[in-house]
């Protein structure tokens, strides 16, 4: 399992060439997984020809198909964006290009990022490379599957309520959701604007740290991006010995006992290094899901109003303008998106807004306050990433409430705008399962350093496929 730095060392030593690596990655694309919506072979080859120097030179990267690459279709896994080709690239894409990275393809997702299984895609479900009958997680399931099966070294996803971290857990990978504002959202198709962050799914902490260094940083085009300086996130080999980690009891309720024991193993390993772990409490955890639903659905209902077929995308002609829009949107959106738009419309409507949206906004502040208080006593939190490993395809498709259950562990970090990372804890049968670290604002370096430490003291043995050398 080579790291980005190791590959680049090889390029220098003239072992593998970037072209070899790309070709091997392409060979590892398994159509039955349905991880990709668009494979961008020519774009990748052109990128290699440009021979740009940089931190991710020659590294094939998969991009979730809700992040724009100029000239390449962006579908968001939706029929409503049929034929749409963006006239600009996302800021993160430009930064990767400037650093020599190449794009292997656009990966499958739950439509517009709405879902936790990558089943709700106009292009069909993606399968978990560890077990084809199971979901890879969602909504960044395609990005996770692409990396887990060796067709990409690392990938970008987006995380609004857990959409990078949960797939990382189900696919045995490291998934990082940065602090809100750490990475520019310009060029990410918006779902829940105050919650969305572009995240990274990779095979180890150092790789993730390298890519974070490339994409993080203030962007004048994104007014919510932070001007805080970018850390050296790839330099992960030291942790101060006196750090304290909290174990929030509410996050360990209703968890599969095997998941529980795997996370406890991680705990023991850390304690073995002299790190102190103590019990803490986050009572508002119970309200995480409904608060997340109200806010994200409300924002989504507004963000998705632009899909009316007038300037781009699917247009179904009707009798007049309003009729045309209504038909186009009916035809263009799958049912989960419709559900969320309608609920979002409801919670913002004049009769309901005070009781629902405004109230949820207040509870969000409460949740944030609580995290901030607890993170004064400890430096970060250790929790399970998901209550169970990957569930079977089709099990929860018709149950919108059950589909949200894993969000209870992940959406809190989005509501509070704080960083969180998931990394593999171990295997349950043939399926991997992750643990999660939640941290203080802009403390990604510390979180990744702890993951790096765990990689050393309790290495994960479950990777699927080596990307073969040329």
């Amino acid at each position: 399992m080579k790291t980005i730095l190791e590959y680049q060392e090889e390029f220098k030593e003239q072992g593998t060439t970037p072209l070899n690596l790309l070709e091997n990655c392409l060979k590892n694309i398994d159509p039955s997984l349905n991880a990709y919506i668009t494979v961008t072979k020519d774009l990748a080859k052109k990128g290699l020809e440009k021979n740009v120097e940089g931190k991710v030179k020659g590294i094939p990267i998969a991009i979730k198909d809700n992040i724009n690459i100029k000239g390449v279709p962006t579908t968001c896994a939706s029929n409503v964006l049929k034929g749409f080709i963006p006239t600009f690239s996302a800021t993160v894409i430009e930064r990767i290009e400037k650093n020599g990275g190449i794009f292997i393809g656009k990966t499958n997702l739950d439509e517009f990022g709405m879902g936790s299984s990558t089943e709700r895609s106009y292009y069909g479900p993606t399968k978990n490379p560890f077990d084809l009958t199971k979901v890879p997680g969602g909504s960044s399931g395609g990005s996770a599957a692409a990396v887990a099966c060796g067709s990409a070294i690392i990938s970008l996803g987006s995380d609004t309520g857990g959409s990078v971290r949960q797939p990382a857990s189900y696919c045995g990978l490291v998934g990082l959701k940065p602090t809100y504002g750490r990475v520019s959202r310009y060029g990410l198709v918006a779902f829940g604007s105050s919650l969305d962050q572009i995240g990274i799914i990779g095979r180890n902490a150092e790789d993730v740290g390298i890519l974070l260094e490339v994409i993080a940083g203030c962007d004048p085009k994104d007014s919510t991006s932070s001007s805080k300086e970018v850390d050296d996130y790839s330099n992960l080999n030291t942790i101060p010995k006196d750090i304290k980690i909290g174990i929030p009891e509410e996050y360990f309720k209703q968890i599969d006992p095997q998941v529980h024991s795997l996370v406890m193993k991680i705990r023991k390993a850390l304690e073995g290094e002299g790190i102190s772990l103590k019990s803490v409490s986050l009572p508002t955890t119970n309200y995480t899901i409904p608060t997340y639903q109200v806010i994200s659905y409300a924002e989504a209902s507004s963000n998705l109003a632009r899909y009316d077929g007038v300037r781009y995308g699917l247009r179904e002609e009707g009798e007049d303008f309003h009729d045309t829009i209504r038909k186009s949107r009916d035809e263009g959106f799958l049912s989960e998106v419709k559900r969320r738009i309608l609920v979002g419309t409801f919670v913002l409507s004049s009769e309901a807004i005070a009781e629902y949206y405004e109230r949820a906004d207040l509870i969000r502040r409460l949740i944030t306050q609580e995290f901030n208080e607890v993170l004064k006593e400890v430096d970060c939190l250790l929790t399970p990433a998901t209550p169970t490993p990957a569930f079977p395809i089709g099990e929860r498709t018709d149950d919108p409430i059950r589909m949200h259950v894993p969000d209870r562990l992940t959406a809190g970090a989005n509501l509070a705008g704080i960083p969180a990372v998931v990394a593999p804890a171990g295997m349950i049968g043939k399926l991997p399962i992750g643990y999660q670290l939640i941290g203080k604002p802009f403390d990604e370096k510390r979180l990744l350093s702890i993951v790096r430490l765990v990689e050393k003291i309790a290495p994960f043995k479950g990777f699927l496929k080596e990307v073969k050398d040329g």
């Binding site: 309200y287 639903q293 419309t345």
Partner: protein
């Protein structure tokens, strides 16, 4: 509990729904809203107010011209432009802008 008026919502959200969809979605929505109502339990009166979590304040852009897209690029994603305009069916009973 107030039943969700799906007809009203689908009008506001501009999504056409056939009868079957309407029924299914009505049920789904009732379920979801019931679940969301949990937030009514929380004591909210004492939470201090700001509308945003982000402590950053809005940064400004200088009033300098930037190159717009070419007309071709602007129209590149629409199917039936006319005289360099986007077209839609006639709007009935609408105000002129």
């Amino acid at each position: 509990m107030r039943e969700v008026d799906i007809k009203h919502l689908s009008k506001l959200a501009n999504i056409e729904l056939d009868n079957k969809e309407e029924k299914l979605l009505q049920e789904d929505l009732n379920k979801i809203i019931k679940h969301i109502r949990k937030i009514q339990e929380v004591e909210v009166k004492t939470i201090p107010g700001t509308t945003h979590l982000s402590i950053e304040k809005l940064s400004f852009r200088e009033d300098k011209k930037e190159e717009p897209l070419s007309v071709k690029e602007v129209l590149s994603n629409t199917q039936n432009p006319s005289k360099n305009h986007f077209t839609i069916n006639r709007m009935i009973n609408e105000d002129d802008s």
